[in-house]
Amino acid sequence: MAPRPSYTSSYTYIPSYRDTLAAASSGGSRGVGGKKSTFRGLFAKELRNLMYGFGDDRNPANDTVNVMEEILVEYIVDVCQTALAPGKKARLSIEDLRRALSRPADAKKLARMEELLFMQEDIKRARAQFEESDMNQASYQS
């Protein structure tokens, strides 16, 4: 009798690299872990440069880049899953993310988020000002 496939329950911690190895050898995907293996290479090019920027060798090891990508994907899914946790949500919102990043360990990440929101706001305000002066110009000419 064929062994029953094991499905990961809602969230048990299995290092995702083991999942991708299993997925590769069994030829199929296994629950949450399996999905992550399909993102191979999406981030590799930029990650390579980022890793150098963050202190790694000018040429980071390929294996290391791959593991970094796996960890990154797992992290993104974790955070967004946590942000969406309290029930049926239509769309992931900034407020959800703010809550998910509210722990002391995430202070840097939260601060970066606020900084990015500020930059988005900055652009919005600059654009509004530009459009307003544009409209004023138009009315002078009419």
Binding site: Y11, Y13, P15, Y17, K35, K36, T38, F39, L42, F43, E46, L47, N49, L50, M51, Y52, G53, F54, G55, D56, A61, D63, T64, N66, V67, M68, I71, L72, V73, Y75, I76, V77, D78, V79, Q81, T82, L84, A85, K89, A90, R91, L92, S93, I94, L97, A100, L101, R103, A105, D106, K108, K109, R112, M113, E114, E115, L116, L117, F118, E121
Partner: protein, 129 residues
């Protein structure tokens, strides 16, 4: 965004800019190159969006994907720092190995408690640094 928050961020940003200038004035050419790489590169928004949408079946707007990409870059930095610390503790040199990273990730999970599980197993620390 409230005007208060906006102007608070504005003054913080200008202070940071001054500090950064002092730092960069003291960079070696190697420092410059590395810093350039850090500044110039980011996680591709489209890829981040794809990951969220395909794994969680959730619609995600472009600005939100951009935000997630932004703080996830900070996460990459935190991983790299930890991995480098692991490497140093073992007295090893050269490009980081997958093992350094996995150990770093394990330590990160332990210290912060799994984001997904939300709760650390028990509070290990009496004094927080």
């Amino acid at each position: 965004m409230a005007d208060d928050d906006y102007s608070a961020q504005l003054s913080w940003q200008s202070q940071s800019k001054d500090n950064l200038k002092v730092l960069m004035d003291n960079f070696s050419p190697a420092h410059h190159e590395r810093f350039e790489a850090y500044r110039r590169h980011a996680l591709p928004k489209s890829a981040v969006r794809k990951v969220i949408q395909q794994t969680l079946g959730q619609q995600v707007s472009q600005p939100v994907a951009q935000i997630v990409a932004g703080f996830s870059k900070v996460f990459v930095g935190e991983m790299m720092e930890k991995a480098h610390a692991v490497q140093q503790r073992r007295g090893e040199t050269g490009p980081l190995s997958p093992d350094h990273l996995r150990e770093a990730y394990r330590l990160y999970q332990e210290e912060t408690g799994r984001v997904g599980a939300a709760r650390p197993l028990r509070s290990k620390r009496i004094f927080m640094k």
